[in-house]
């Protein structure tokens, strides 16, 4: 199968979460007859359970649509569904690089949100033509004129000919398809050049093995061909070549401008890095695709089984997840408080949440996750630079020269009623205001913030101070020096590794006090007084005390009560299994979880 370049359109859909991206995709597939109504599962493209539930896309997916346009010609439309979240920014940029244009979907009553902005700027950076689409036009609250003006104001693109539609009711779907054909450019490419294709994404399929999603720029791919992944330096023979209609359908070849998939005995997803260039082994292209980079984890946390006996199950679950998600990393970690577990790296907080949720849901594991931490750069006196993933590994401060921490640029949209509270939150988190502007009654604030203040509980606080009306997005800006210190928590004079953290010196006392108060509430009374202290080096900055048990004895215990008392003791013994011994002190596991989720500051 080969398609005339002028009859191909490759496009993606960019939108804020919940603005109707997936519903619109489904509607386009249905309209062009890719699936019968009976075959339509709600939101076909988000086929992971969590994706469907949360309405987000984690892996890039494509579908090939055949559309007979008003000009009488039949076009091949490749719809690329991209991950919509900043955590997957790199994957998004590669998906966008595989397309020539984008549909920008904006909710006709809610208007532009933080993610709309982040995603559309990425599309613009990839030289995309943009077709604005106002969705949910049939809702009584829809104000297409106001939102049109807002798009022009905020994003700075012409929205005068924005398409009006309702993905839910099917209104205006044909107009969207016509706009794709008439307003987005056709791909360019030369079939006679050596093969040059972009590795857009890869995933593990239990039947096919690793499936690689590709966009061909030059040359042609055929089954049996030996292809080379240029960055990886590995060669594979193409077993199976196909396109998604959306069902996988074999094809004889893929030429310039086309998007499809291949399999080729690739063992692990990590062997097929997103952004790599695929070429013919015997007749390679001279220049690889630009823009390849290796993705680095940004946020780290420890993950431990609640029941130590589940450790091996956790290890195997992590292995399985890693099979399909090369951006997630893990290595074994031992904590005095939490036992054996793993130190895990994630692309961001959403990625962390998704992995945690999949571990507990798909593998049925009870887990404890420690507070997320960022990667600090420790500059040692001898000139060495250490990437610190775990505060417990912090070297002796006398050997360090200075520490750098990652900063982000955060964009927050909110109704102006909440602006004051949000600015206060950002200031409290050491933020620096970059921009503040209004779009009607909505405010847009841009702040530079240290990432370690954001990973803590920024989302929860933002949600609570804005009653859920604020939207938030960010991108990593780089590293800056900070006055950071390691704060330890000591229970009965013993440091508890799982609770130590790097904090800014100015914030240490407040954090320390909060932590000590929390632990005082959570540690049960013992036979002795238990001091709880927060310390920086040898200096105590906060202290609380768990008083000793004064009285703990069953009043009555005669013959018949012995059985009752024994049951009580059995229950206590059960409870003890969920305790972690720390020196002489037993700390319930909930205490670790609760202490790390500090909500009041």
């Amino acid at each position: 199968m080969s398609t005339d370049l002028s009859k191909i359109r490759n496009f993606s859909i960019v939108a804020h979460i919940d603005h109707g991206k997936s519903t619109l995709s489904d509607r386009l597939i249905q309209y062009t007859g890719g699936l019968t109504a009976r075959e339509m599962k709600e939101q076909v493209l988000d086929n992971m359970e969590i994706e469907r539930e949360r309405g987000i896309t984690i892996k890039a997916q494509t579908v090939r649509l055949n559309y007979k346009a008003h000009d009488g010609e039949t076009y091949v439309l490749n719809l690329m569904d991209t991950p919509g979240h900043v955590d997957f920014a790199y994957e998004v940029s590669r998906s966008l690089a595989a397309c020539e244009g984008s549909i920008l979907v904006v909710d006709a009553s809610q208007g532009v949100e933080a993610q709309t902005l982040a995603n559309v700027y990425q599309a613009i950076d990839n030289n995309h033509e943009i077709v604005p689409v106002l969705n949910k036009i049939d809702l009584p609250a829809a104000e297409p004129e106001r939102i049109r003006a807002q798009i022009e104001d905020v994003i700075g693109i012409d929205a005068s000919d924005a398409v009006l539609c309702s993905a839910k009711s099917g209104l205006g779907i044909e107009d969207v398809l016509e706009a794709v054909v008439t307003r987005l450019p056709a791909p360019k490419g030369d079939e006679n050049e050596p093969l040059k294709a972009l590795l857009v994404d890869a995933w593990y399929d239990p039947y096919l093995g690793v499936v690689v999603l590709v966009r061909v720029f030059n040359g042609r791919m055929k089954p049996g061909q030996m292809v080379k992944l240029m960055n990886a330096g590995a060669t594979y023979k193409i077993d199976k070549l196909g396109v998604f209609m959306p069902k996988a359908t074999d094809v004889e070849s893929l030429g310039p401008g086309e998007i499809g998939f291949f399999t080729g005995q690739i063992k692990e997803v990590s062997d097929a890095a997103v952004g790599d260039t695929i070429t013919d082994e015997r007749k390679p292209t001279a220049a690889a695709m630009t823009g390849f980079k290796e993705v680095q984890p940004v946020v780290f946390c420890g993950i431990f089984p609640v029941d130590a006996a589940d450790f091996e199950d956790l290890r195997s679950a992590m292995g399985k997840l890693r099979l399909n998600d090369a951006s997630f990393s893990y290595e074994m970690e031992t904590s005095a408080a939490l036992g054996f577990g793993f130190r895990c790296g994630f692309l961001g907080l959403l990625h962390l949440e998704i992995i945690q949720e999949r571990l507990s849901r798909e593998f049925n594991l009870d887990l404890i996750a420690t507070a997320p931490s960022v990667v600090y750069k420790i500059y040692m006196n001898d000139g060495e630079v250490i990437d610190l993933h775990n505060p417990a590994d912090m070297p002796d401060p006398v050997k360090t020269d200075h520490i750098e921490e990652p900063w982000i640029k955060a964009t927050i949209f909110c109704p102006d009623d909440y602006l004051g509270a949000i600015i206060k939150l950002c200031q409290d988190r050491r933020g620096e205001q970059v921009d503040l502007s209004y779009v009607g009654t909505r405010a847009m604030v841009v702040y530079n913030l240290p990432l370690n203040e954001v990973v803590f509980d920024f989302y929860d606080r933002l949600k609570s101070v804005s009653k859920g009306y604020a939207s938030f997005d960010y991108n990593i800006e780089g590293y800056r020096e900070g006055d950071l210190v390691k704060m330890s928590i000591l229970v009965n004079s013993e440091p508890v590794d799982a609770l130590s953290m790097l904090v800014h010196r100015d914030r240490a006392e407040m954090r320390g006090r909060g932590m000590c108060e929390k632990m005082r509430e959570l540690i049960p009374q013992h036979l002795f007084v238990i001091p709880i202290q927060a310390a920086i080096g040898g200096r105590i900055i906060a202290r609380e005390t768990v008083r000793a048990l004064r009285k703990d004895v069953t009043a009555k215990c005669y013959g018949g009560d012995a059985t009752r008392k024994k049951k009580l003791l059995e229950k206590q013994k059960e409870g003890k299994k969920k305790m972690r011994q720390f020196g002489k002190v037993e700390i319930p596991q909930e205490a670790f979880i609760a202490a790390l989720k500090m909500d009041n500051d």
Binding site: H526, L527, F528, L549, R550, K551, D552, V553, T554, A555, K556, C557, Y558, G559, G560, A562, T563, K565, K566, L568, L569, Q572, K573, K576, K584
Partner: protein
Amino acid sequence: MIGDNFSSPAIAGEVARPVALEGAKPLSLYIHWPYCSRICPYCDFNVTRDRGQASQRALFDAIMADMRRQAEGLGNRQLASVFFGGGTPSLLPPDWVAELIAQAGDLFPYTDDIEITLEANPTDAEISRYEGFRAAGINRLSLGVQSLDDAALKFLGRNHSAAEAIRGIETAQTVFGRVSLDLIYALPNQTLDAWETELRAAAALGIEHISPYQLTIEQTTPFGRAVKRKLWSPPEEELAESFYFRTLDVLGSLGFEAYEVSNHARGKAARSAHNVLIWEGVDYMGIGPGAHGRLTRNGARTATVAEKDLKTYTAAADPIEAIPLTPSEAEEEALMLGLRLTEGVALNRLPNLPIIEKATPLIEQGFMELTADRLRATEKGRVVLDRLLFELLG
């Protein structure tokens, strides 16, 4: 003749106990009579309103049969104590009490110094039957006085006044000689001083044994429901603790020794022999609906529980469920009960528990003491005994 069974190191010998018969192993007997003329709002025991049911006689016959059945195969035993509990066993006709004691004596020989206790209420109706109980063989009365304050008695749902209680105490002292009082403290709005006055009044009456209990709110009782609906609330934990410590101070100053967590006696002879035997791990047979027992058969200790439901208990061919205890379960129980006593527990009863190792830090911290053959909780340790047990067994 003095045999060696009672003088084994397992028993401290710190209580007036019967002279032992040659070759016989001791056995205590607990008889549960579930009827009450009024159900107290704090009580969660297995109790039933006494409406003069005709079925009471059938239940009594079933209890008699239960005793005979459980006696089978127990070997050579000497009856060491008898305790009538409930419910309100003072509602039993005295001649039924006599029948039970007579049958027990037929099954197991005993000596004249045996302690036979009956729990009783100090209502005028029951006081008039004290003579009858004495004649039936009862020689110690445990009086459910609960309070010497009329308002408190009304709150506790008792069907007697403070004046009746004092009459009951005086009559019982004349008739039985040995009398124990149950008193309840930590009532809502009760002050520490009012409680002290009550304790002093009880002691002034010449009482030699007092069992003071903190009011415990059980969820399934009317009190439990009232507290849940926030109609009233018991004292805060710290105040409740202060009641406990005040009790120890006051009774101590009046010459009472806290020989067990909640039992105080003036002199060793005043201690409850029956309860001491049970805390020390002597076999006891529990008969009557819901009664628990511990019997050693063929060298293995067994926990027994009788059917709770009165009708089922009466009709059953055998109302007893017997659950064998593993040696370590039996030892854990021995430790749990034994440490409640001032004298503590004999180490030779715990051959399988790694107890010394676990007790060592507690001994170092002054919560426990180790003598040649016993492990005991110190005064400081006894108030946190549940925690000590958790450390030792958890």
